[in-house]
Structure formats: structure tokens, C-alpha cells
């Protein structure tokens, strides 16, 4: 016993000093780790800022460069060989008409496909096949849609380089966006809504058209707006189908003063759209045209940001408002 006592004593002494030393070490370590934590949150914040700062710089840059062209003349003139007289008239009219075709072709189709996949499809190979295709199509580069349109609409269906071809091309391009957002919107509706409708004797289509579609309208609208904004800014597929860049005329008006008041000649008309006009001005060496490109870019960015902003805001509102 006595022989062991000094050892334990000395052992205690050692461990005490060791603990003290250790404690100091641990404190240093904790301090270092806390510093790392702090350091990373600063780096993270900076990384987030990259996107925000770019967006701001880009926008300010466009507005400052394009400032001399912000007038009504720019919107009212046709393209011209002289930069100062060149305008955006045929481009913005073309954009609106192309978007009209895109909307009419993509939205009913996309919503219908979304409804089928969520409400009707049984779990079988066909549903799987469609699903795989939709997610794959979302990843296909946009220029490949342009090649598809060039081969299919341009030559096989012989629609030429028309507004119809352009609208259908962009329609195919945004189809996956519409399908996916429709599915998400439908999936968010509780089963209880459907069961209540079935319980009072509604058929499947009545449930879908009167209840499911009604409640998912906001979500679908969000997806449609985002898709249309994407279509508005898309350039590459339209260049591929051979959109002309120098269009000094307007397509025939869709609305006429004589019966039947509607005219579909505009569908087969040649066209240009705002992003293509911008690309054309931008690829010229003369700097005066770059000013026009900047002004066009500012207009495109404002319109697409407004559309996307509306969609995001809508979604945010719905998320807050709807409590099932």
C-alpha cells in the first residue's frame, strides 16, 4: 500500500498538469474551429454574392450602354443599315406572335400530359417510359431542338422559316417545363379533395377538371410563366431553323376589320425576334450597333425578370395562403 501511494500521488500530479495543458490545447482547438466556422460563413456569403453582383453589373452595364436608344423611335423603327435609325419594331412584334403560337401549342399539351401522368397513369412500363422521356427532354441542349425543327418542321412538314415553325419549336422546348410544373401542382393537392368529389358521385374527369385543375391553377400558371419567359429569351433554336435577321416588314395582322375578323396568314410569315435581333447587332463589328444590342438586352432582361419575378411571387403567395 505504502509503496503505491507516491506513485498514485505523482500520477495525479501528472494527470492534473496534463489536464491543464490539455485544456489549454482544447481551448485553442475550439477557438480555431470557431474561427473556421466564421471564416466559412464569410466565404459562403461571398459565394452567394457572385450571382447577385453579376446580375446587377450585367443589368447596369446594359442600361448604361443602351441608354441613348431608350425612346419610342427605337420601338417604332424597322432595322436599318444605319445604327442610329435602326429599331426593334419587327422584332418585338415577332416575339409576341411567336410566343402566341408557343403558348397555344405547349400549354394545353403540357397540362394534359401532366394530368395524365399524375391522375390517370397506372404504374407500368408506359408510364415509366413517358416519365424518363420527360426528364431527359428537360436536359437536351436547346440547339438540338433547333436541329429537330430544321429537319422536321422545316423540310419534312415543309413549314419553312415561319412564325409557326418557330412557335412550335419553342413549344416543344418548354413542354417539359409545363409538364413538370403541372405534375408538381397536382401532387400538392390532398387526396381528401378528390375523395370528397368521388363520394358525391363525380366521375374521374369531373374530379380532375372541376377540382384538381381548379386548385392547381396557380401552380400551373407559375410553370407556364417560367416556360414562356424561357421561350422569350431563347435564341439558338430559332437561329438554327433559319430565322432572318433583317426583316423590314410586319407579318399580316392576325385581326382584320372584315369578317371573319381572324386571319392566319401571319403564321407562315417570315419573322425575327428580339434575342435574334440582339445577336445580329452584337455580331457586327461596328460599335454603334452594340448600343442597339445593349438597349435590346435591357428590354429582354426587364421583361424576362418581370415574368420570372411574377412567377416566383405567385408561388410564394400560394405557399403562404394555402393551408390544406
Amino acid at each position: 500500500m505504502t509503496t503505491h501511494a507516491p506513485i498514485t500521488n505523482s500520477g495525479n500530479a501528472i494527470s492534473q498538469s496534463a489536464v491543464l495543458e490539455n485544456l489549454a490545447e482544447v481551448r485553442v482547438m475550439i477557438r480555431r474551429r470557431k474561427r473556421n466556422d466564421y471564416l466559412f460563413s464569410v466565404i459562403g456569403l461571398l459565394a452567394l454574392m457572385v450571382g447577385l453582383i453579376t446580375l446587377l453589373t450585367l443589368f447596369i452595364n446594359l442600361v448604361m450602354d443602351g441608354y441613348p436608344r431608350f425612346n419610342l423611335e427605337f420601338l417604332g423603327n424597322y432595322p436599318s443599315r444605319r445604327a442610329a435609325h435602326a429599331g426593334l419594331l419587327s422584332a418585338w412584334v415577332g416575339s409576341i406572335l411567336v410566343m402566341l403560337v408557343t403558348f397555344v401549342s405547349a400549354v394545353p399539351m403540357g397540362v394534359a400530359a401532366g394530368i395524365y401522368l399524375e391522375e390517370y397513369a397506372k404504374k407500368n412500363w408506359l408510364a415509366d417510359l413517358i416519365e424518363i422521356n420527360v426528364s431527359n427532354l428537360a436536359g437536351v441542349p436547346s440547339i438540338v431542338y433547333g436541329l429537330l425543327a430544321l429537319g422536321l418542321f422545316g423540310y419534312i412538314l415543309d413549314l419553312g422559316q415561319s412564325i409557326l415553325t418557330a412557335g412550335l419549336t419553342l413549344g416543344l422546348l418548354i413542354l417539359p417545363i409545363v409538364i413538370v410544373s403541372t405534375r408538381e401542382a397536382i401532387r400538392a393537392i390532398p387526396v381528401a379533395i378528390r375523395e370528397a368529389a368521388y363520394a358525391v358521385g363525380a366521375t374521374k374527369w369531373q374530379v380532375v377538371s372541376q377540382h384538381v385543375l381548379h386548385y392547381s391553377f396557380g401552380g400551373i400558371l407559375t410553370g407556364v410563366i417560367i416556360g414562356m419567359a424561357r421561350a422569350l429569351g431563347e435564341t439558338a433554336p430559332l437561329i438554327t431553323i433559319g430565322a432572318l435577321t433583317f426583316i423590314a416588314f410586319l407579318p399580316p395582322s392576325p385581326v382584320t376589320t372584315t369578317p371573319p375578323f381572324l386571319n392566319f396568314e401571319w403564321l407562315s410569315s417570315g419573322f425575327t425576334v428580339m434575342p435574334i435581333q440582339m445577336f445580329n447587332w452584337l455580331s457586327r463589328p461596328d460599335h454603334a450597333f452594340h448600343i442597339n444590342a445593349a438597349a435590346t438586352g435591357a428590354i429582354i432582361i426587364v421583361v424576362t425578370l418581370l415574368m420570372n419575378g411574377t412567377a416566383i411571387w405567385l408561388r410564394y403567395k400560394m405557399r403562404k395562403k394555402i393551408k390544406w
Partner: protein
């Protein structure tokens, strides 16, 4: 209809008629339902039809191209000049341009996107996230032609101040801009993956005394790695398929180089360049853009399959 039936009640055998009219109504209803279902199915099949059409058009026109050009030339020739008198059909210069710009883009987007995702998922307050996420989504919505303007007339002149020998068309500027473009894609998908990691894994880590940074790097990131790889895969396909930025700012001259300080055309830029001119249907130039498109699709598919395999390998189940 129901009132009609009721009015006629005394004159006819009431029970039988109600049943048969209901039956007729049900038949009509069922038929209508079937028609609706069929129409919806057709709409859904349009997705399959689009894929088939894309593959068919690319293969059909490429076959015409490869009737003139041997596969060996296509992959080994070091020049791509299908529209010149002295025509060469080596795809490699276009592939090198595409890979170089994409690599630069990923060097920007992967670190920044991943750090942003970790920050948003593990560090940021609820309020910060609510503000930042919509802004990132807005960035996704900016048309690429506008980014092309940015690369050509803002980023490249800025880079020329640092590297005075940098030519006006180069792969560095558009690569960086493409990287910035891709950041939101990577950060938002990677963040979703990290947020899906169960809370009790973090709590376990915190209980052992780990800091937030340690938890994020050693627990959450490995657990979410499959989703993070999916985000990178999407980033790669975006970069490879991006058109307007490189068509505007990287130059139009096919150039077999991996030097980002030089100008070089990408596959997409070549397609745009040829499509701007009016090539007759069936000519070798016309067919060459479909062959280029086929290579582009194959590259995208290759990276997607690679990503899929990596995801399977690293997938964690909990």
C-alpha cells in the same frame, strides 16, 4: 332529363325506365371518360414522340454525312473545314473548344455553387434563404444571349486589362460567364439534396461536439453526395450545350487547342454559324451540323450516364 322522366312517370313503367336511362347515361359517361383518358395519353406520348423525332432526325441526316466522310477521318483529322474548297472533316477541333469552355465554366461553377449550397443549407438563417433563393432563380431566367453580350463586351475587355495579350475572341471570358450562369443550377439542386439529409444526423454530429462547419463537411456533404453529383451532372450538360455565349464571344474559327487564351469554335457555335448562312437542304454543309449535333447529344448523354453511375456508387441509404 330527370324532370322529363318524372313527368312521364304515371304513363310508363317507372322502375324499368329509370334503370335503363341511368344505364344509358352511364354508358355515355364511361365512353366520354375513356375518350378523355385517351386524349390525355396522346398528349403525354408527345414527350416520347419528341425524343424519337430528335434521335431520328439526327441519325438520318448524320447517315447522309457519314456516307461522304469516313468515321476514321471524323475522329482523327485535326481540321474542321466542311465549307472550304479543301474540306476537312475532323470533329476534334470543335470537341476541344467545347471541352475547354465547359471545363472553365465548371472550375467557376462547382466551387462557388457548392460553397453557396452548403452555406444556404447549413449556415444561412431562414430570412437570408428566403431572400437569396428567389434571386438565384431570377439569375436562371436571364436569357443566354444577354450573357453573351456580357462576355463579349464586359468580361473580355476586363480580362484584357489583366492579360494584355488576350484576343477579343477567347475561351476564357465566355467560360467564366458560363460558369456564373451555371452557379444557380448547381447551388439549388445541391442545396435541395443537403436539406433532405435527416436532421438527426446533424444532431448526432453536434452532440459529439462538432461545429457547424465540421458537420457540414463531414456529415451532411457525404450524406448528400449523390444529389450533389446530380447537380454537377446537370451543370456539365448545361455547359456543353450552351450556345449563345460561346457563339458570340469564343470565336467562330475551329481550333484544336485546350488553351483558354485562344479563340476556338465549339460544336454549338459551329451549328449557329452554319445555320446563319442559307445552306441548301441535303448539301454536305447542311448534313454536317446534324453530325455535329449528334456528337453534342452523345457527349451530353455520356456525361449523364457517368453522373448516373457515380450517383449509384456513392448513394447513401438511411
Amino acid at each position: 332529363m330527370a324532370t322529363q322522366v318524372l313527368e312521364n312517370l304515371p304513363a310508363l313503367k317507372p322502375v324499368e325506365l329509370t334503370i335503363s336511362s341511368r344505364f344509358a347515361k352511364n354508358v355515355r359517361r364511361n365512353f366520354f371518360e375513356r375518350v378523355i383518358e385517351f386524349i390525355l395519353l396522346l398528349a403525354a406520348l408527345s414527350a416520347v414522340a419528341t425524343t424519337v423525332a430528335i434521335v431520328w432526325v439526327l441519325l438520318y441526316e448524320s447517315l447522309g454525312f457519314f456516307r461522304h466522310v469516313s468515321l476514321i477521318d471524323f475522329f482523327t483529322d485535326t481540321q474542321w473545314t466542311p465549307l472550304f474548297e479543301d474540306a476537312h472533316y475532323g470533329i476534334m477541333p470543335l470537341v476541344s473548344g467545347t471541352l475547354t469552355t465547359s471545363a472553365i465554366a465548371l472550375m467557376v461553377a462547382v466551387p462557388v455553387g457548392t460553397v453557396s449550397a452548403i452555406y444556404l443549407s447549413e449556415f444561412a438563417s431562414h430570412k437570408t434563404r428566403e431572400i437569396v433563393k428567389p434571386i438565384l432563380e431570377l439569375l436562371v431566367g436571364v436569357p443566354t444571349v444577354v450573357f453573351g453580350y456580357f462576355a463579349l463586351l464586359f468580361v473580355t475587355p476586363m480580362l484584357q486589362k489583366i492579360f494584355p495579350e488576350l484576343p477579343g475572341f477567347n475561351m476564357l471570358g465566355p467560360g467564366i460567364v458560363m460558369g456564373i450562369m451555371i452557379i444557380p443550377y448547381i447551388s439549388s439542386i445541391a442545396e435541395d439534396a443537403m436539406r433532405a439529409v435527416p436532421m438527426n444526423m446533424r444532431e448526432g454530429s453536434y452532440a459529439m461536439g462538432a461545429t457547424r462547419f465540421q458537420t457540414a463537411i463531414r456529415v451532411v456533404t457525404p450524406a448528400a453526395i449523390s444529389g450533389i453529383i446530380a447537380a454537377y451532372t446537370l451543370g456539365i450538360s448545361r455547359a456543353v450545350g450552351e450556345t449563345m455565349v460561346v457563339a458570340l464571344a469564343a470565336g467562330q474559327q475551329p481550333n484544336l487547342t485546350f488553351n483558354p487564351m485562344e479563340s476556338a469554335a465549339t460544336i454549338t457555335a459551329y451549328i449557329v454559324q452554319v445555320a446563319m448562312g442559307d445552306l441548301p437542304h441535303g448539301s454536305i454543309g447542311y448534313q454536317s451540323i446534324f453530325a455535329a449535333g449528334l456528337v453534342l447529344m452523345t457527349m451530353t448523354l455520356f456525361f449523364n450516364v457517368l453522373g448516373h453511375m457515380a450517383r449509384k456508387k456513392f448513394r447513401q441509404a438511411y
